[in-house]
Structures are given as C-alpha cells and as structure tokens.
Amino acid sequence: MEVLDIIKPENQVFCKTKLMTNAALSYCPGCGHGTAHNLTMEVIDEMGIAEDTIGVAPVGCSVLAYDFMNIDMTQAAHGRAPAVATAIARTWPEKYVFTYQGDGDLAAIGTAETIHACNRGENIVIIFVNNGIYGMTGGQMAPTTLPGMKSTTSPFGRDVKTMGSPIKMTELVAQLPGTYYVTRQSVHTHKNVRKAKKAIKKAFENIKLKKGISFVEIVSNCNSGWKMTPNDANKWMEDNMFPYYPLGDIKVNGKLK
C-alpha cells in the first residue's frame, strides 16, 4: 500500500485540535509549553466545554497563551492569576476556570495568591509548568532551580546555604485542606503525555464536584535556558529534575497518598 493511499481524511487518527489557533507558538523548539497548551485544549475539546471555559494567562513565557488558545482567555498581572481566577469562578460558578502558570509566576511572585487560593479551596484548576528557571527573561534562577544548577544569576550553581533550597510547591499545597486533587506529571515522552492528559482531564472533571482546587504540576524542560538540545534537556530532566520532583499523584479525592 502506498503512502498516498493511507493519507485520506477517513483514515486520519490524530490532528491538531481546533481549540488551538493557527498562530505560530512563540516557544523555543522542543519546549514543553507547546505540548502542555495542546493537551489542555484537547481535554477541553473532548469534554465539549469550550463554550464554558475561561482561562487565565500568566506573565512569563506563556504570557501569550491567549493568542494560542481559541477559548475565552484573560491575562493577569504577574503572579495574580489565581486571584483573577477566583473572581471569575465566584462570579460565574457554573463556568470551568483554569489558570496556566510557570514557576516564576506561581512559585515566586505569586506564592501568596497561589497558597491562599489553594487554602480557600476555590473551584478552579491550576496548571503549573515547572522548568526550574525563568525562561522568558533569559534564564535567571527561579525558586524551583535545583541545588548546584547553573543559571545566569547563579553562574557557579545554586548554593543552598545562601540561596535556599528549591521549593516544592506541589507538595506544599497538597498539605492544605482546600486542595482536592494534586498531581505532578511531565510531557516529554508519549507515556508521560498520555498520563498528563488523564490528569488534566480529571482536574477539569473535578470542577463539577465543587470540592476544591485541582493542581496539576507539569515538570518541563527549558532547553534554551539550560543551554542544551531538546533531547539532551529531556534526558537531563529525567536524571536531575525527577529525583527532586518525583512524578505521580500526591493527593487524590482530598486524601494524601
């Protein structure tokens, strides 16, 4: 059978979702943000809730998420996405509200908003993309940068004596009674992508239950900031990020694992 006989509309099994616009993604080649964007939109498309979903974009690499996601979006001041999402979710309790944030946004400037939104148990989904670095501004050290990891503001590696240890936001918010579902996933291989998609779907389904916040961390690469090729960055992430940020569910249905 020739290739051209296979490439027919009735044989199509996978294509880009309609909920992503045709705008070229502004991310570096191989960046996990693109996969995380597409997974979120695929879940919303499969659940058929595109009309009832409102997203909040952060500040950071994904600041232009409203250009790429073809649903109702707004954009919050740096770190304030959970506060904006709280307002939207309380105004329209029947809507599906989610925030999409990076580690500089959620774990540094927005720590207070994140922790208090989780503690109040707002009925929203937080998607947290953790790549251990400030990507957009040129690879500065973030709260999630690993010990000994080099960045432009820690050129000799992060020294935990003077700079503190990396903050595990996901474990931190799992301790709060307001969180209902807390998990950590990654999107660098097909297996992890499938697991991450299930986790995002569960998080959006939890909104209907109105039991509290769903928090999905996605450990991602930053090949430009780490100064590696995308596949080397993924390997480095497996070897160094995953021992410190272990993948898996941390809190399911309000119970710690």
């Binding site: 059978m1 290739v3 006989d5 296979i6 490439i7 027919k8 044989n11 199509q12 099994v13 996978f14 294509c15 880009k16 979702t17 992503m20 070229a24 993604l25 991310y27 570096c28 080649p29 191989g30 960046c31 996990g32 943000h33 693109g34 996969t35 597409n38 999107v187 660098h188 291989t189 097909h190 992508v193 499938r194 090729t229 995308p230 596949n231 993924n234």
Partner: protein, 76 residues
C-alpha cells in the same frame, strides 16, 4: 491477521526541528530533512515510511502539533 499501516504528514512550516519525535518512534520512521523551511529549521519527514504503524506517539509529543497521523487496517 489484520495489520496496521500508518503515515504521517508534517506541516513543514510549523515544524521547528526539535527532534523530540525521533526517540519516541519505536520503528525509527522519522528523521530530519537536509532542507530547511522558511524559518530556517530542519523539519521532520518519514525516512522509512514502510515501518510506520500510525501509533501517534510522534504527534502527541510534538509541541507544535505539526504532525497529522493516518492509519489503515490491511489484511495481510
């Protein structure tokens, strides 16, 4: 026994040549072209189209969703 055959179509203008699709392909179908697109990236193409099973692994790890996957069942 039913056998599956697959094929991928790469949007060469969207592909950024990150090569993330190459290690996840169990059948080593994909490689990078020598030509570049308008942005200057080497794009993915099917070097070994006979081996493709249409498993969609490459498409779901593609950050830019440049890959569309087709699959048919053929009786051997």
């Amino acid at each position: 026994m039913a056998k599956v055959k697959g094929a991928i179509v790469v949007d060469t203008e969207v592909c950024k040549g990150c090569e993330v699709c190459m290690p996840v392909c169990a059948d080593n179908v994909i490689s990078m072209s020598k030509d570049v697109n308008r942005k200057g990236y080497h794009y993915a193409f099917m070097e070994n189209p006979e081996a493709c099973t249409g498993c969609t692994n490459c498409a779901i790890v593609c950050p830019d969703r440049a890959i569309t996957v087709y699959r048919v069942k053929v009786s051997a």
